[in-house]
């Protein structure tokens, strides 16, 4: 299999890596990485270097994967009014 035949494999792997890293990466760091990746990719594209732009793009995908899950969850329970006899 070549990249030409499966071009979405690198982003998919990057996204999966981001999800795996989510518990280890602080939220602020992931946001900073996403923003930096966005700026770097845009700058490299504007500078006519698309071959290099793929790397920061994949870093951004890793960051989005890490940010995908909520950092905290609220769970609430209640007892039903039915009494077991």
């Amino acid at each position: 299999m070549t990249l030409a035949k499966a071009p979405l494999v690198p982003p998919a792997l990057a996204f999966g890596a981001g999800i795996a890293l989510a518990p280890l990466v602080p939220g602020a760091l992931a946001w900073a990485a996403w923003l930096a990746a966005l700026v770097a990719t845009a700058a490299l594209l504007a500078g006519g270097r698309p071959a290099w732009a793929a790397a920061p793009f994949l870093v951004g995908v890793v960051a989005v994967g890490a940010l995908r899950l909520p950092r905290s969850t609220a769970r609430e329970g209640r007892f039903s009014g039915v009494r077991a006899t």
Partner: protein, 143 residues
């Protein structure tokens, strides 16, 4: 070797920006549930929210200027109110009112106002705002 041509990278960059923006909005909504609830109530008519309240027997309060729609009222009974009445309460959309009625019909009357927490997507903050306006009277034996 070029992994992606320039045009594809531009599209992917747009998707990456949109994904991050969506995540940021979602995170902001989770961080500010009260503000989100207030923003979602902007399209509601505040006058309509008072019209549902049932006037107390005996008429208007002394010393208060008369108004077109009597604002003072007894709390609305969630075990007897229709979906239309519930939908006129502040912060209660027609969809939420329908879910309240559905929960009442499915699981039985609400034992208290706190019991409204069993209604899907009725958050604690909204319940606290509705608390003074609602009551949960025990249904009559023949109901």
């Amino acid at each position: 070797m070029t992994l992606y041509p320039r045009q594809q990278l531009l599209v992917l960059l747009g998707l990456l920006a949109a994904a991050g923006a969506g995540l940021a909005v979602g995170q902001w909504r989770r961080a500010h549930p009260d503000l989100v609830a207030r923003l979602e109530e902007f399209d509601r008519d505040p006058e309509a929210t008072t019209a549902v309240l049932v006037p107390e027997p005996g008429g208007a309060h002394p010393g208060r200027p008369p108004r077109a729609a009597p604002p003072r009222a007894t709390p609305l009974d969630v075990n007897r109110a229709s979906a239309a009445e519930l939908a006129r309460m502040p912060g209660v959309s027609p969809a939420l009112a329908a879910r309240i009625v559905a929960a009442r019909e499915r699981d039985g009357p609400f034992a208290s106002v706190d019991d409204l927490a069993r209604v899907r997507r009725l958050g604690r903050a909204r319940l606290e705002r509705l608390r003074p306006l609602l009551t949960a009277a025990a249904p009559a034996a023949d109901e």
